[in-house]
């Protein structure tokens, strides 16, 4: 029985299998480099750029307030740009802050399985001035923490994500427009609208009006 053609078939099958496996594995979704692949069917409302400086002394150590609280709206793609300020390894890691109590200083973070490291030490070079990008979408309103797993005691700060447009956010959440130096304005938390207006006078005006989406990003403070 001559089944000689089987040899060619076997070769073709092996080459096909190798090609399919490589294609499949290399098309894996990855979160680094801003190459975020959104889950199917998810509609984001827009994109917000957020730059933070990584320094072992604290986030934004030599750029205004240290460890600023970041405010983000819901369902926007947040593109973080981490710029290295020293020659030490850092990460940008996020998690929910279930123990949040208004008015207290942030000392703990939840470094469990649910923590998400957006930017790993491998993406940073320990060269001051180098930057790495990653993005994330906050689906749920609430309080989050972001920290560096290498320097968790100094580089630890909050993120607050406001509620949906229907206004069902928890009372503890204070909505503020996105701003890099918003940590300066905690005193105006009681009135976000005033706070928002203050920001128009501040140095970050150019950032806010850069795109239409960023204007949209600072709408809808919810109480």
């Amino acid at each position: 029985m001559n089944k000689g053609k089987l040899g060619a078939v076997y070769g073709i099958v092996i080459v096909l299998l190798i090609g399919m496996s490589l294609t499949f594995v290399l098309s894996a979704p990855t979160s680094s480099g801003g190459g975020l692949l959104d889950p199917a069917g998810l509609k984001t409302k827009g994109t917000i750029d957020q730059t933070i400086y990584a320094d072992a002394g604290g986030w934004n150590y030599s750029h205004g307030a240290i460890n600023p609280t970041l405010y983000f709206p819901l369902d926007y793609k947040i593109c973080f740009t981490v710029i290295e300020e020293d020659n030490l390894p850092h990460t940008l890691t996020l998690n929910k802050d279930s123990k949040y109590a208004p008015g207290t200083a942030l000392t703990t973070y939840e470094n469990g399985a649910t923590a998400l490291t957006l930017i790993t030490t491998g993406q940073l070079t320990q060269i001051p001035g180098h930057s790495a990008k990653a993005s994330y979408i906050f689906f749920q309103p609430g309080n989050y923490t972001y920290w560096c797993t290498v320097h968790p005691t100094t580089m630890l700060a909050r993120i607050q994500v406001n509620g949906t447009a229907s206004g069902s956010a928890a009372t503890s959440i204070v909505s503020q427009p996105i701003n890099q130096n918003s940590g300066n304005h905690h005193s105006s938390q009681s009135n976000p609208l005033i706070s928002a207006l203050n920001h128009f006078d501040s140095s970050s005006l150019s950032i806010l009006i850069k795109t239409d989406q960023n204007i949209l990003a600072r709408d809808l403070p919810v109480f």
Binding site: Y10, I14, I18, S21, L22, T30, S31, S32, A113, L116
Partner: protein, 574 residues
């Protein structure tokens, strides 16, 4: 009609359907098939044995291998699966090497996690699908002939085990996990929808399925060795390959439950993290690492022990003499079994579990030298006392395997020292150490066995001597160059498992890339050889040199001196 009524009706209908299905299954199990009748007429114990003895010329690519459930067909399935996964996982490894052409990430720049995915897939598939699958395949194929097994009635169980195992391997490939082959939490528990670890749960399920499949197959093969041997094959004269498979599978059955339970706990942690993360003061990732390495050290012996046995079978075919010492061969293999269970801690010497533990595991690791040296000296004595050694391709693989195992073994003993371990932990030194052994012994000897089985695999074709020599030469040179580049670079501190490196390690990475590319090209010669053989007309019998000794009418296995290669053409001789 109320919902309750509908539900009751549906459940009654489903019960009846299941009863009918079960009845059909019962009839199928107890029914006398055509094969049963044939087996009865030909005085065979069961139809599995009949199929094994009479239908086994099916060859490598015959669809009969996937339909018939005799041991030979199942062995061919495993060998074919192992070869396929070897090419897939090998292409992953080659791509990793090529991507390290520059210190900064090149191919995966901005998507460095892909490097981790490739590392994980390469390691997991190579260990479980190539090393373990290849050894299982050769055991299933050869042992019925070696042991003159009468009964072959667990074919359907073996078949089920094979499909579970294959599906597990495919799941691991589909999961695109990036947890490295040891699945450490909390990394293995990452489920974020953006990362390559989104399907870590699938990898955990896949690995568990591989374990279930191999456990069932191991029980079947152990039963075959211990209970189903022919009357004229006493335990004390069993071929050394059967001994090595027995020790391997007992080692597997003794150590696999630790990781099987750890994987179940890991899977539970996806939903409710209590075992390895989550509960402060109670759950620790270190407990997973301990459970893993109680399995993780035996697996690296499981990947080489059957090959040690195969070397014992191959050498007499090319020297024309018996192996130097049967007893010391058995003792060497037998000692490796308990010792491998004692040394798992040397993978965790830097995890901070204390100097006393470190001293124990370091000392135990040195003891492993004794059985390894017994085995290696047995090989060397067998070659030394031979009048003439035929250096055909399988024998070249064996010689290269002994050479590589000595280098890999010595580097292994060096890193078992506590002080050296701190220096080389997590560097390419370790990668070089185990690639010396895995390329030399595991890969080389499985290829040697495939060359020995060539006329059977390809239905009576001889392999092309020229292509086979190229395959051997490139594999041997490439693996030596690659592993040596890693070993030297690793000793100087080159960290492994990362998609980049410091520029001062450029030369060692370049050496390793050269070696990796040479290996990759070498495997193409094997593939070309296989395709060329299958395209040729059959030119010899489908007997193979492995089984020649055991298919005669001798009363007792091992009683006669092996003749120097009854069938030289079967191993590509002149």
């Amino acid at each position: 009609m109320s919902v309750t009524t509908t539900l009751i009706e549906i459940s009654v209908i489903m019960s009846i359907m299941f009863a009918i299905l079960f009845f059909m299954y019962y009839k199928y199990l107890t029914g006398k098939t055509e094969a049963d009748v044939l087996a009865d007429e030909n005085n065979y114990y069961d139809y599995g044995s009949y199929l094994r003895e009479n239908k086994r010329k099916g060859g490598f690519l015959s669809t009969n291998n996937f339909i018939l459930n005799d041991s030979k067909s199942i062995g061919m399935r495993y060998i074919m699966t192992a070869l396929t996964f070897f090419f897939i996982a090998g292409s992953f490894g080659l791509l990793m090497r090529v991507s390290l052409i520059q210190p900064n990430p090149t191919l995966f720049s901005g998507r460095e996690v892909l490097y981790d995915v490739l590392t994980t897939e390469h390691a997991t598939l190579m260990i479980y699908m190539w090393a373990l699958g290849g050894a299982m395949g050769i055991a299933y194929y050869l042992l019925p002939s070696f042991l003159k097994v009468k009964a072959d009635k667990y074919g359907s169980i073996s078949s089920t085990a094979y499909w579970i195992y294959l599906l597990g391997g495919v799941f691991i490939l589909l999961s695109r996990t990036s947890t490295r082959w040891y699945f450490y939490p909390p990394l293995a528990l990452q489920l974020n929808p953006y990362g390559a670890g989104a399907y870590n749960w699938l990898a955990v399920i896949g690995l568990e399925m591989i374990f279930i499949g191999i456990t069932i197959a191991a029980i079947v093969v152990v039963r075959m060795i211990i209970l189903d041997r022919g009357e004229n094959v006493p335990l004390t004269k069993m071929p050394l390959f059967a001994w090595s498979v027995l020790f391997t599978l007992l080692m597997f059955l003794a150590s696999a439950p630790f990781l099987m339970s750890a994987l179940v706990m890991l899977f539970y942690d996806f939903f409710n993290p209590i075992f390895f993360t989550g509960v402060a003061g109670a759950s620790s990732p270190l407990s997973f690492t301990e459970l893993f390495w109680i399995w993780g050290h035996p697996i690296v012996y499981i990947a080489i022990l059957p090959e040690f046995g195969l070397i014992y079978e191959i050498i007499p075919k090319f020297t024309g003499k018996k192996i130097f010492s049967y007893t010391s061969g058995v003792i060497g293999l037998a000692l490796l079994m308990p010792l491998s269970e004692l040394v798992w801690g040397h993978h965790l010497l830097n995890s901070g579990f204390g100097l006393q533990w470190g001293l124990f595991f370091s000392t135990a690791s040195f003891l492993v030298v004794i059985p390894s040296a017994i085995t290696i000296f047995n090989y060397i004595a067998s070659l030394w006392s031979a009048d003439k050694i035929r250096l055909s391709t399988p024998m070249l693989f064996v010689v290269n395997g002994i050479f590589d195992f000595i280098i890999g073994g010595i580097t292994g003993v060096m890193q078992a020292m506590l002080v050296v371990n701190i220096q080389v932990h997590g560097t390419y030194w370790v990668t070089g150490h185990f690639h010396f052994i895995f390329m030399g012994i595991t890969t080389g000897i499985i290829f040697a066995s495939v060359y020995m089985l060539w006329p059977t695999i390809t239905r009576g074709r001889k392999y092309d001597q020229h292509l086979a020599t190229w395959h051997f030469t490139l594999t041997a040179i490439g693996s030596f160059v690659m592993s040596m580049g890693w070993t030297v670079g690793g000793f100087l501190g080159m960290p492994r498992f990362v998609s980049g490196y410091f520029a001062r390690f450029q030369v060692y990475q370049d050496i390793a890339i050269a070696g990796g590319v040479i290996i990759g090209i070498g495997q193409l010669f094997f593939l070309a050889n296989l395709i060329k053989s299958l395209l040729d007309e059959p030119s010899t019998t489908t007997n193979n040199a492995f089984e020649d000794e055991y298919t005669g009418d001798e009363n007792e296995v091992g009683s006669n001196e092996p003749e120097p290669l009854k069938n030289p053409t079967a191993v590509g001789g002149e």
